[in-house]
Each structure stands twice: as C-alpha cells, then as structure tokens.
C-alpha cells in the first residue's frame, strides 16, 4: 500500500504529467522533423541551393516539442520544483496537473506527425515551384493551429489550478 500511496501522491502525479508533456510532444516532434528531413535530403541531393527553404519546412513540426517543454516548465514552476520552494500537493491537485498536461501531450504528439506529412508534401511544392514556398508553409501551419490551441488549453489549466 505504501508504494501505491507514494505513486498517487500529488507531486508524483504532477511530475508524471510534466514528463508526459515533454515525452509525447517531444517524440512527436522528433518523428516529424525526422520525416521532413528525409524528404528534404532527397531534394537537396538534386538541388543543394534549396537547402534554406526546406530547412524552414523541416523546422515547422519541431515546435510541438517546445510546447511540451513549455507546459512541463510551467507545471514545475507552479509546484515549486524549479525556482521557489516545493509545494506538497494533494492527490487531487496532482491529478489536476496530470490532466492539464494531457492536451499538449496527446495533441502535440499527433499534430507534429500530421504537420510533418504536410511539410514533407510541401517539399514537393518547393521542388517544382520554389517561388511557392509560402503556400507550402501555410499548409503545414494550418496543422500547427491545433497544437497551439492544445498548448493554450494546457497552460490555462495549469495557471488555473490553486496550490
């Protein structure tokens, strides 16, 4: 029972949430950036001068990982693990933080991969019509909206929790 109690202590739950935000969103971004990178390398092998353009596209699915880190940091800051004195959370508070981390963790993971697909397809645009880069970026940015919304939801939830 001791282990169970420790596992469901408020601080462990809050940290689990923070960790999930970093892990899932980070893995999603890593997969996404990698996926676009593979496609980009294919184009650069033919047209080295397009490097700057495709690098821009490759960077796009990378933001979800940053959003995850951001959410984790806001949680850590709130419960005093970073900068300040650590707070002893109740189990309920811990669950609140855990739930607050879910939007960016899950949406971050999935949207990074979906965005990477759009960005990789955008490299096809750059290959055929280099002047249409802005449109390729816009398609990928459409996906990013949902990651931004999830980040917003997560952060607002974390800010709203009383400790």
């Amino acid at each position: 029972m001791n282990i169970l109690n420790a596992l469901f202590s408020g601080n462990v739950l809050a940290l689990t949430g923070a960790a999930l935000a970093v892990i899932l969103a980070g893995v999603g971004s890593a997969k996404g950036v990698g996926l676009v990178g593979e496609t980009a390398a294919g184009l650069v092998s033919e047209e080295p001068e397009s490097f700057g353009k495709v690098l821009l596209l490759q960077a796009l699915p990378g933001t979800q990982g940053i959003y995850g880190l951001l959410t984790a940091f806001v949680i850590l800051n709130k419960i005093g693990i970073v900068g300040g004195t650590a707070v002893e959370l109740t189990t309920q508070q811990g669950f609140l933080f855990f739930m607050a981390s879910l939007p960016i963790a899950i949406v971050g993971y999935l949207s990074a991969i979906a965005q990477a697909r759009a960005a990789a397809a955008g490299i096809g645009i750059v290959a055929k019509r280099p002047e249409e880069l802005a449109k390729a970026i816009t398609f990928a940015a459409m996906v990013e909206t949902y990651a931004v919304l999830a980040l917003l939801a997560s952060i607002l939830m974390v800010f709203g929790i009383r400790v």
Binding site: A59, L69, L151, L152
Partner: protein, 657 residues
C-alpha cells in the same frame, strides 16, 4: 496603397525601324511586351500577320553566352580579386563598351584560348589520375627485383600473384620446398588484405606447383604493358607526375595572364545577353512583309514619355490607352516605404488581380502588431532590430532581400515595444541574475500573471483584423456599385459580431448588444436567400446563413495563438535563464551562464522569429485574406536591360544604329 494604373500600348511600325524602336523601348525599360496571339488577334488580322522571332539566333547567342560564362568562371577560380556578396555592379560607360565590341574578336581568341587550356588541364588531370593509380597498384611490389615483363625463361616459369592474408605463407613455402624442390619462393610484401608473392620454378614441376598454389587461393597478377622492375616503374611514374605538375603550373600561369581580361569578358557577356533579349522579344511580336506589330503594358505615368520618344523619332502607328474595366493587366504595387517591406507577404501569397485593391496598407499595421506580440521580448526585439539595421545600413540590398530584412527590422521594433509593455527583457534575466532582487516591471501587465486578460485582448485584435478584412470587401463592393450587397452581406455581420461581443461585456452595454445582434441576425435571415425564387427556400437559406457565425467565431478564436506564442517566448527564455544560473555566482558559474545564455538566446530568437513569421502570415492568409482577397495577378516585368555582372550605361537618350 495602390496598384499602379497601367496603359495598353499597341504599336505598328516599319520593319526597317524595328531594331531601333526595340532598342529605344529597352533603354526606357518600362514597357512589358505581351505575346501577340497571331492566330487569334483581336484586330482580325490573323490572315495578314505571322509570328516574328528568330529561334536560331537566340540559340546561337545563348551558346556564345554560355562559352563566355564558362571562361569567366575559370578565371574566377584564380581569384584575381574577390567581389563582396552585396557589392554593387560596376558601371560601364558607352566608350568602354564600344572599345570592347570593336575588339570583340580578340576577346573571342581569349575565350577560345582559355577553353583550350582548360581542356589541356583536364587531360593532365586524367593522366595524373592514371599514374597515381599505377603507383598505388605497383607499390606493394616495390621490393620485387625481377622485371615484370619476364614471365618465363627457357626452363623456368616466373609468376607473381597474391594470396589472401589468411593463407599461411610459411606453410606454402614449406610445401613448395617439399613437393617441388626446383622452385624459388619469395614473399614480397604483405598488407591487411593479402600477401604478395613471387615464384620461380622449373617447367617440370608445373603441375605440382599449380596444385599447391590452388590450395592456398593464389591468384596471378599480370603487369600488362609494363617493362622493368616495379621500383623503376614507380620512379618513372613519379617523375611523370612531377612533370605534369610543372606543366599544370605553366598552363595555370597562362590562364592567369588572361585574368586581366575578365572585366572585358564580363562586359561582352552582358552585352550579348542584351542582344539575346532583343532577339528573344521578337518572338512575342507579329509581322507582315513591311511592318511589325507589338502590344504591351506600361505604367500610365510613363505613357507620355514613351509616346513622345517613339513618335518623334519614327513613323509609326502608336496607340496608348488606359486599361479597360475587367481587363487583366500586369500588377505593379506602389506603397510608402513603411508599408513596402510587408508587400513581400502578399507577394508570397499572390499578387492582387487588376480588379482588386492593394491590401498591403491595411495588412501592414496588423502584421507589425502581431509579429511583435508573438515574440514580445524587448531584449530580443533590440537584437533583431540592431542586427537587421546593421545589415540594411552596411549593404545595399536589392529586391526581395531588402524587403525581407526590412520586414524583420520592423518586426524587431514591434517586438521591442511589446516586450517593454509586457516586461520581458531576455525573459526574466535581470531577476534571475540578481536572484530576484531587481526586476524590470512591465509598462502594461505581465501576461504570465494574467493570461486571460491578454487572451481577451488577442480576441479584440483579431476581431479588428477581421473587421478590417470585411471593410475592404465592402470597399470593393462599393467601388463596383454593389451597394445592396454591402447592406445585406456585410453590415448585418458587423451588427451580429459586435453585438455578441457587447453581450459578453454585461450591464447596459449587453442590452444594446443583444438588440444589435438580433437586428443583424434578422436582416441576415431575411436577405441571405436573395437568389432563390421560392419564398420557403429563401427563408430556409436565410436561417442557414446564421450558421456562418461559427466560422467567424473560429476565426477569432484562432487569434489565441497571439497569447500562446507570446507566452512561449517568455517561458523558454526563463528556462534558459534558470539553467544558466544553476551553477551559482562564481567564475565557472558566470562563464557557464554566459555560454548558456548566448546559445539559448540565439536559439530562442530564431525559433520564435520563425514561429512569429509563420503564424502572422497564416493569420493574414487565412483569417484576413479569406474575407475579401482573390489574388491571381501577374507581376509587372518590363522589357529592359538585364545584366549579370555590370551596369552597361547606354542611356544616352539617342538611338544607336
């Protein structure tokens, strides 16, 4: 804010004046010559005219240009003087040009020479490769004292070959000594892959020897075409390589002697490019036996100048008329210098078509506002503005590059302002370094303390942005005389959206808002089904149109990214500062702090500036342009002198023959 008015020019001139007129148009550089569809001419001339143009001449000039360019590239390899990346082109005066054209054949000699010398260099390079390979293949045999062409004597057979490095050569030697005593064995060399061996044996024991060699995986090596010992061959090859190096130096010296002509070659290159463009443009024109016809567009303010130059100098039929309603003309935008950098955002989406208004003047202030809100750090803003400001000051940038850097410069200023309002100076670096003793207070408020307040402001800015887009739509409808559409399609939405907003404010304002929204919705229900004849269908369509409110709401909610991205800059900056100050206030700690701070700040600026650019553009493209913008215009590309290396100054006002 404006799309420059364009006039259509049609010109019918005499064939004998053609080149002079084209020359003159090129020097004025304001007319965009359009393709005349000879089979489908609006003048009904299709039976009389044929397309002019000289493909062969274009190809011939292109080949010449390629040749000179290749020669210039070779010469650039010998770096006579490095040209700066942003350096302005050299100006070439008419005299210099004439001099160069007069001595064109000398320059062609130089081009041919460089070409020939370069071919020799290529030959030498392949020779050198061959010799290097030969050396590499002979080196393991360097200790072999038998000339390689000797494969047998009267009673003996001589063989060289390799066995895998795994084969035991001592066992091989012993076995040979036992089974074939009339043999001589020598291991010449051994490397990580194989052993190199040489064997001499009497003919009588051939079968015994080959049996043993087979067992050890021996494979014969032959040196076809070589004579003498390997060592002698290697020495010989090395000597030849040295000679090649000498020769190459000679040739390079010879090429370098031509380096002085590089400037002249560049002028010739550009001159030929101009000639090529002149021939190329002919393919857009039509001709009869004695006349030629060209059509095109030019900015209206240049019309009188072009008209007077052409009609004073040549006999021709020249008509210049304003563009007609609904006619597509090339698009040239003209905005004041503050708005101009933001044109690049619209250009990347699509230029406005000739029936639209130029959205840049309305778009620019919002872009400025949103970019800064998304990065929102005074320190970062200063860094961006200073870096781009220095680039702008130091280099004479042109075209796209200039617009892009200026855009970032304005973005930096906006970032600085928003950062000061929100109290972000490199995140919380002051408080982090002084362990919270000092902080820079925000001028307005800190979004981290009260995110909901900033969220509401984001929605307000978003609503204003969308209203501006709808306003532009209304402006275009009024311009087209469709007043009813404005009254029924746009004003009711203003009422509904503003009314709903006021409803949220509560109190007396909410009551007014309620009625505004109801009136607006009522008008929409009654009018949105206008095209339908059937009254029930009409009402049904009207009610359905209210569903559009979700579209507007999701548009406005989309501006929450202003808050999210703004917060993310500040939080990541705080993470960097926290990481940097982990090691305390001592020498190692300060060094670590500086390293972490500088790398982290550069990274954070790059990521956030990219994010701000992408998301601000998206707000413009999807939420703002979506309300009114069609786009699809083609850029204005006048027929003018275009050169690569130099500015050829033949603008002397007179025509040349």
């Amino acid at each position: 804010m404006a799309i420059v008015k364009m006039d259509k020019i049609s010109l019918i001139g005499l064939q004998r004046d053609r080149n002079a007129i084209i020359d003159s148009l090129m020097r004025m550089g304001v007319v965009q010559i359009e393709d005349i569809d000879a089979d489908n001419s609006e003048n009904g001339l299709s039976d009389l005219i044929t397309k002019s143009g000289d493909e062969e001449k274009v190809i011939q000039l292109d080949t010449q240009i390629e040749k000179i360019k290749a020669a210039i590239d070779y010469l650039s390899g010998f770096g006579t003087k490095k040209k700066g990346f942003f350096e302005a082109k050299r100006v070439v005066e008419k005299n210099e040009l004439n001099e160069i054209i007069k001595n064109e054949s000398d320059l062609w000699d130089i081009v041919e020479n460089i070409d020939r010398l370069n071919e020799q260099l290529a030959l030498l390079r392949s020779d050198e490769n061959r010799l290097s390979n030969l050396i590499a293949s002979l080196e393991p045999w360097e200790n072999l004292r038998i000339p390689v062409e000797v494969t047998s004597t009267k009673y003996t057979i001589v063989a060289q070959g390799v066995v895998p490095v795994t084969a035991d050569t001592e066992a091989l030697e012993n076995e040979l000594a036992e089974s074939a005593p009339q043999s001589y064995f020598e291991r010449v060399n051994r490397d990580k892959d194989q052993s190199y061996i040489s064997i001499i044996y009497h003919i009588s024991c051939e079968s015994a020897v080959s049996e043993i060699l087979k067992k050890y995986g021996f494979s014969k090596v032959s040196f076809s075409g070589l004579t003498g010992t390997p060592a002698a061959n290697i020495a010989n090859a090395r000597r030849q390589i040295a000679e090649i190096k000498e020769k190459r130096k000679d040739i390079q010296q010879k090429i370098r002697e031509f380096a002085g002509s590089k400037d002249k070659l560049e002028v010739l290159h550009d001159y030929l490019e101009i000639q090529r463009d002149k021939v190329k443009v002919l393919s857009k024109m039509a001709k009869t036996d004695k006349t030629f016809i060209l059509e095109g567009w030019l900015p209206a303010e240049k019309s009188s100048e072009v008209k007077s130059v052409i009609s004073q100098n040549w006999e021709c039929v020249l008509e210049i008329r304003p563009s007609q309603e609904g006619e597509d003309h090339p698009i040239l935008l003209r905005n004041n210098p503050l708005v101009r950098p933001f044109e690049i955002i619209t250009e990347m989406y699509s230029l406005p078509n000739s029936r639209e208004v130029d959205p840049n003047a309305v778009m620019a202030p919002f872009y400025f506002l949103f970019f800064g809100m998304m990065v929102s750090d005074a320190g970062y803003g200063l860094v961006i503005a200073l870096a781009t400001g220095i680039i702008l000051k130091k280099f004479k940038l042109q075209g796209m590059a200039h617009k892009m850097i200026s855009l970032l410069f304005f973005g930096g200023i906006s970032t600085f302002i928003w950062g000061a309002l929100f109290g972000g100076w490199f995140g919380d670096v002051v408080s982090a370094v002084t362990s919270g003793k000092y902080t820079i207070p925000p001028i307005w408020f800190n979004p981290l303390d009260d995110p909901i307040r900033l969220l509401i402001w984001s929605f307000i800015f978003g609503a204003l942005h969308i209203f501006a887009g709808m306003g532009l739509k209304a402006y275009m409808l009024i311009k087209d005389g469709k007043l009813l559409d404005v009254l029924f399609d746009i004003i009711p939405w203003y009422l509904v959206l503003i009314g709903l907003g006021m409803l949220a404010a509560g109190g007396f304002i909410a009551v007014i808002g309620k009625y505004m929204a109801i009136i607006g919705a009522g008008v929409l229900v009654l009018t949105q089904g206008r095209p339908e004849k059937n009254i029930i269908k009409r009402l049904f369509k009207g009610i359905l149109s209210l569903y559009g409110v979700t579209g507007y709401l999701s548009d406005i909610l989309s501006y929450s990214r202003l808050l999210a991205l703004g917060l993310s800059t500040g939080v990541v900056a705080t993470v960097i500062n926290t990481m940097g100050t982990l090691f305390g206030f001592n020498i190692a700690g300060i060094i670590i702090f500086l390293v972490v701070f500088i790398i982290g700040t550069v990274f954070n600026i790059a990521i956030n500036a990219l994010g701000a650019y992408v998301h601000t553009s998206r707000l413009q493209y999807v939420e703002f342009f979506g309300k009114f913008y069609e786009g699809g215009g083609k850029g204005y590309e006048p027929f003018k002198i275009k050169t690569k290396y130099t500015n050829i100054n033949i603008n002397d006002g007179r025509q040349s023959k």
